[in-house]
């Protein structure tokens, strides 16, 4: 009797411990670091050492200095474009996947996701040698007679960043769209067909609206990943592709201005959180109406 009671108590303690751990993990590894960098954003730097006195100086500088807001805005536009390109390319791919039967569908999906297993830096290197003036793309276009001479259109500029980011992030767009398309009940499509709707009508009135939650989360995924990236712009952006991520990175790498870097991160975090919330909101309102 008492023995059974103590094992019960021990089990309860264990489950309490697990609960505490489960809550402690996100607190320790997510909330505390976030709080620390929020606090840092109110410090300043003097002669290479951090001054621990609260100031709004970093935020004032962000909003008043003529270089930060334009770069910030351009970066947002760039990342929205990346998201749009990814969606436009990923949607047909995902739709095609759902038309496949059985094993083929998942085999092909896996193939599309294989690039995610590769190192991100290696992919950028590879893409860069494809995009160069003597790179594969230019050589192919010249050989095919499409261009007379190699073009600098995709060499070390914003276009190169746009293309590289889109290529890197497409798998992240395919997956959520595929999942939402797959979740659409076949009965709805058959009912639409029975009622005399054409294939296009069925797609526009049933498939597309029901897949929008997937599109919304794909877009917010891609946007968030793109805006946090500094390596791609650094490596393929050249002189005109200067993005917010590069400014942010320089505050930690070469400038040793952690407080200002933290303030810039806060600005970035706000945009990222907004993007996630928007994606979430679209995803849910459409999803629950089914």
């Amino acid at each position: 009797m008492s023995g059974a009671g103590s094992t019960h108590a021990a089990e309860r303690r264990l489950s309490q411990l697990i609960t505490v751990l489960a809550f402690a993990m996100p607190v320790v590894f997510v909330l505390v670091p976030l709080a620390i960098f929020l606090v840092y954003s109110f410090f300043s730097v003097d002669q290479g050492t951090i001054v621990h006195a609260p100031t709004l100086g970093n935020y004032v500088r962000f909003f008043t200095d003529p270089i930060f807001l334009p770069v910030f805005w351009n970066t947002i536009v760039l990342c929205v474009s990346v998201a749009v390109i990814c969606i436009l390319l990923a949607y047909p791919a995902a739709y095609f996947l759902t038309t496949l039967k059985g094993r083929w569908r998942y085999a092909l999906l896996m193939l599309l996701l294989v690039p995610l297993l590769m190192s991100y830096v290696i992919k950028i290197y590879a893409i860069r040698s494809i995009l160069g003036l003597n790179g594969f793309l230019n050589k192919a276009l010249v050989a095919l007679g499409i261009l007379d001479q190699p073009s600098t259109l995709f060499v070390f500029n914003m276009n190169a960043i746009l293309l590289t980011l889109s290529l890197l992030l497409i798998p992240f767009a395919i997956l959520p769209i595929f999942l939402s398309l797959e979740r659409i009940p076949q009965t709805l499509l058959r009912a639409s067909d029975d009622l005399g709707a054409s294939g296009l009508q069925t797609f526009l009135r049933i498939t597309l609206p029901l897949s929008l939650p997937g599109v919304a989360s794909a877009a917010s995924f891609v946007f968030v990943l793109a805006i946090g990236d500094f390596l791609t712009p650094q490596m393929v952006g050249g002189i005109s592709g200067f993005t917010f991520g590069r400014i942010l990175y320089s505050q930690f790498g070469t400038a040793y201005n952690w407080p200002f870097g933290a303030a810039l991160s806060v600005a970035l975090a706000i945009v990222v959180i907004a993007a996630i919330l928007i994606g979430e909101r679209f995803g849910r309102s459409r999803g629950t109406s089914v």
């Binding site: 270089i67 334009p70 860069r128 995009l131 160069g132 003036l133 003597n134 060499v155 050249g238 040793y256």
Partner: protein, 341 residues
Amino acid sequence: MGLKKAFLRLATIGLGIGLMTSAALAANLRVLAWDGYADPDWVKDFTAATGIGVDVVFIGSDDEIWAKIKGSEGQDFDVFAVNTAQLQRYIKADLVSPIDITKLPNQKEVLPRFRDLSQVSGDTKDGKVYGIPFCFDSIGLIYDTDKVKPAPTSMSVLWDPAYKGKILAYDNGEHNFSFTALTLGYKDPFNLDAEQMAAVKAKLVELKRNVLSFYTTADEAQQIYQNNDVALIWANYGQQQVKALQKIGAHVAYVNPSEGALAWLDNWVISKGVRDNAAAEKWIDFMLSKKIGGELSERTGFGNTVVESSSAGGNDKLVWLNNVEDPLKRSDLWNEVKATP
């Protein structure tokens, strides 16, 4: 009986070894150096020649040297290697001892530019010598010999519109402000006043418009060179970068610009906590021998201070890197340069 004897002998040998190592440890010279500055064969030769044992610890960054020396207030090492830009910081913190160069006969035989140490900025303070130059490399200009004719002599070629979009520059505000200041003819590129800073910034915006991209690693520059039409590279990695490019078959050559090339210079210094000053002096003198100088350049590709090497010709003007007036300011301005459309 035989077993007992064997045990006894073993114990004696063990004791002997123990005594020997502890004696050796007590007298060994403790050296802190970059990889390539104290190769095993040199250490062996040094011990054979002087009878002084050596313990070498290798380091990987300037910060690591500072942490090791400052952490023990110089007590853990006798001799270490540090560059001229860093050395003043050690002198200020009283972590290094002045060196009596009359104890270094080989110092009289070094290349002319290193003979008068009062002329090597950063090596002396208040008339006392603290650093003995050992290894250096310049940050010159790599040019493609097929595309750039005649051979350039000045960094101003980087602004030449003929090479627009064919130039690789380095992504670092500090160095870029310094070399552009030299190109504009300013005396002290490491201490710019507000007016000079503005002029250099405007000049860098012009440079940016002539450049294909800014690189950060030597590998990266090499890859961009292979896939694009590149004529000129601002060679942050100096000789190593040239040699790597030549190895892949690129037709490139290297030049130190006439207005002066930035260059780093590593020195041997004696720490405050040195146990045997004479042994430390012997080590430095040994490192200044012609044999080691030649081998250093052969193995690392860097310049040595004793025999001529490809890092710099005898008449090339070199400007030893120094701490800049305000690294934060330069980094901010560099971001502004990059953000300028």
